[in-house]
């Protein structure tokens, strides 16, 4: 086994941060289109269904931010343990945020 290295690879760190932001964006967009019908209608008009537009928007955010973060030092400036925590809490928060929104509203 090689000597232990403490840093994530450039792509791994960049897309981890992109994934965390995309997960939060996903929940925020779900809230927004549920609360504001014109946005839902606009999203539906783009692809024929709001859900399809929503999925494409998530993918664009994930891939787009991943590529941007690969070209900048932003993700690598964050320590790997902190990046893992950010991603976990983004996923947990975004998931519970979805459930709570539809439970209470």
């Amino acid at each position: 086994m090689d000597a232990e290295t403490p840093q994530l690879g450039r792509a791994s760190a960049a897309f981890a941060l992109g994934a965390a932001i995309a997960c939060v964006f996903n929940t925020a967009l779900a809230w927004a289109k549920d609360a504001y019908a014109p946005l839902n209608n606009f999203m539906a008009s783009l692809t024929g269904h709001h859900w399809i537009t929503h999925g494409l928007a998530d993918c664009i955010v994930f891939v787009g931010l991943g590529v941007i973060f690969m070209k900048t030092p932003a993700a690598n400036k964050i320590g790997p343990n902190r990046l893992v925590s950010i991603l976990i809490w983004a996923v947990v928060g975004a998931s519970l945020g979805l459930f709570a929104w539809y439970l209470f509203l």
Binding site: M1, Q7, G55, L87, V91
Partner: protein, 161 residues
């Protein structure tokens, strides 16, 4: 026997979703025992997870757009309207999170996880999140399906289809 395209698409969606969850569990176990000689196998498992999740996503999306409106009408007239209002509404957005994580897995496992504790921690975390969220999605799907069943069994969903 009468198996429709809608049946095949829905069951394919659940099957590919389960396959993606199992591949993520496979990645988790491989990462716990990461060695240089198993790196290729772990990457293949990550590709399987990502491709299966993509297939589950597309099949589920096609079924949701084209077939679900009839089931939704039945559910909302039945005794379990929360199967749509809460469970399906959450599921249809939660699966995007599962998908993003599954698509990230092949990128994460490209790091030398056998030599990099930080990379191992990241892969273990993401793989487990995929397992847990895909299990939640499977359970939510079962509740939605049962929402249709109880509506039809108790008569309130008659005429909705």
């Amino acid at each position: 026997m009468n198996i429709t395209n809608g049946d095949i698409i829905l069951l394919g969606h659940a099957a590919f979703g389960s396959l993606a969850g199992m591949a993520a569990l496979w990645i988790f176990v491989e990462t716990l025992n990461a060695r240089q000689e198993t790196a290729g196998r772990t990457f293949k498992a990550a590709l399987i997870a990502a491709i299966a999740m993509g297939a589950a996503w597309m099949l589920g999306g096609y079924w949701y757009v084209h077939f679900y409106p009839a089931d939704k009408a039945i559910i909302l007239k039945g005794p379990w309207p929360f199967a749509h209002d809460l469970v399906m509404e959450t599921k249809e957005h939660l699966v995007f999170i599962t998908g993003i994580l599954a698509f990230y897995l092949p990128i994460a496992v490209r790091d030398k996880i056998y030599a990099n504790a930080a990379a191992r921690k990241m892969v273990l975390s993401v793989a487990m999140l995929v397992v847990l969220t895909s299990l939640a999605a499977e359970g939510f799907g079962a509740i939605v399906s049962h929402g249709v069943t109880v509506a039809l069994q108790r008569g309130n969903g008659k005429g909705a289809r």
